[in-house]
Symmetry: C2
Subunit: 225 residues, 2 copies
């Protein structure tokens, strides 16, 4: 198919496709004349992946290039590709070397040790967590740190369910794509469901614990009962 | 304190502070001469909140203005302020009215109904979830939809723990600030912990289920056992 058809099929404007071609996110089509090229289904699919990572996952063009590079790297095992793509998908957070950062680093280390999890030093999510915790320290919001272990416990339930499902996929290429897409979209899905749950717990919930004006207008007051 | 001192204390550059003042994110200091103003601790704290929402939470200046407006709106109950701030904190996702979007909308409605949760039609997280699910449909990644109920169940555990902790806070203003900050940072903390858990489940885990080269290099293969 020509680039116009590719654009229609993947719902990506032609100038954006040309940009992705220049940036090396999309492999070139088969040249049929000096200014025309033919594209196939692999291009449609790849464009949908790029669109998902950038538009929905919020990844930068550079991060997307890296993720795709790891995903389709020849001669790399599925597990290594998945691990490397995973790392590339984590947006780096600004490091501010203050007292709060030092305390947050300690908390991150202590949590991983307490959980007994194998988390490599190179896992960029360490920095993500430290950055979030440092912000809580700077704002004096340390009460919420009590929730860390509960968060970790539930995050592990989610990860186990995800990997159990992944392990059922026989095709390594599909497995890798699923792992990448679900890593990015899983964060968004979980965030949305957490917002739903917060609304339901604060304003709805089971009839006996339902929030009412008599609670003094405090969300979650019912949970005290 | 003068603006230079405010800048140092909150770790925000002076031009950025001036920008926030112009944009109405920060209330003006007390004018002491035609080109000087005095700031106090409330400005330091407010700047730290702005910084957290923008730099760590990734909110836009417009969204931050709206969240802060809801948070510090006079004459509004805590529960209404928290609800409104919550909604303002959800970044809108692009709506693409195709077949996948229609299917995803149905899935979102069906999930909420199945869970029996009270989620208002105006909750912007409905659109967030629909957008993520539509992307999965477009990529043919529908196998992962099986995980939705497990995600919802764990999201509710998290929300309950959060609201139980919040309900212990006696000061309504602190409670509101905590709710806002933790909503934004909670997503990031959970995402980081999910990455830790994925690494641990795929490469580590309990000794008997530990991943090894004999699994064929498939992450989570151990989970099948």
């Amino acid at each position: 198919m020509r680039i116009a058809e590719l654009s229609r099929r993947a719902d990506v404007p032609v100038p954006t496709i040309k940009y992705y071609l220049r940036e090396g996110l999309l492999s070139p089509g088969e040249r049929t004349s000096h200014n025309q090229a033919q594209y196939d289904e692999t291009h449609v699919h790849r464009l949908k992946m790029i669109k998902a990572l950038i538009d929905v996952g919020g990844l930068s063009v550079a991060a997307t290039r890296e993720v795709l590079g790891k995903m389709y790297a020849p001669g790399m095992s599925v597990i290594d590709s998945a691990g490397k793509a995973q790392f590339a998908m984590t947006t780096p957070r600004p490091v501010i070397e203050d007292e709060a950062w030092a305390e947050a680093t300690e908390q991150t280390e202590a949590l991983i040790k307490r959980l007994g999890w194998q988390v490599r030093q190179t896992n960029p999510a360490r920095q993500t967590l430290t950055s979030a915790l440092a912000t809580l320290y700077r704002l004096g919001q340390t009460g919420q740190l009590e929730l860390l272990d509960e968060y970790a416990r539930t995050a592990r339930q989610v990860a186990e369910a995800e990997l159990t499902l992944l392990a059922r996929e026989p095709d390594p290429h599909t497995l890798l794509e699923t792992a990448v897409i679900w890593t990015v979209l899983g964060d968004i899905v979980f965030s949305a469901l957490r917002r739903f749950a917060q609304e339901d717990v604060a304003y709805g919930g089971p009839a006996e614990g339902r929030h009412s004006a008599e609670d003094g207008g405090v969300p979650g007051a019912a949970a005290r009962a």
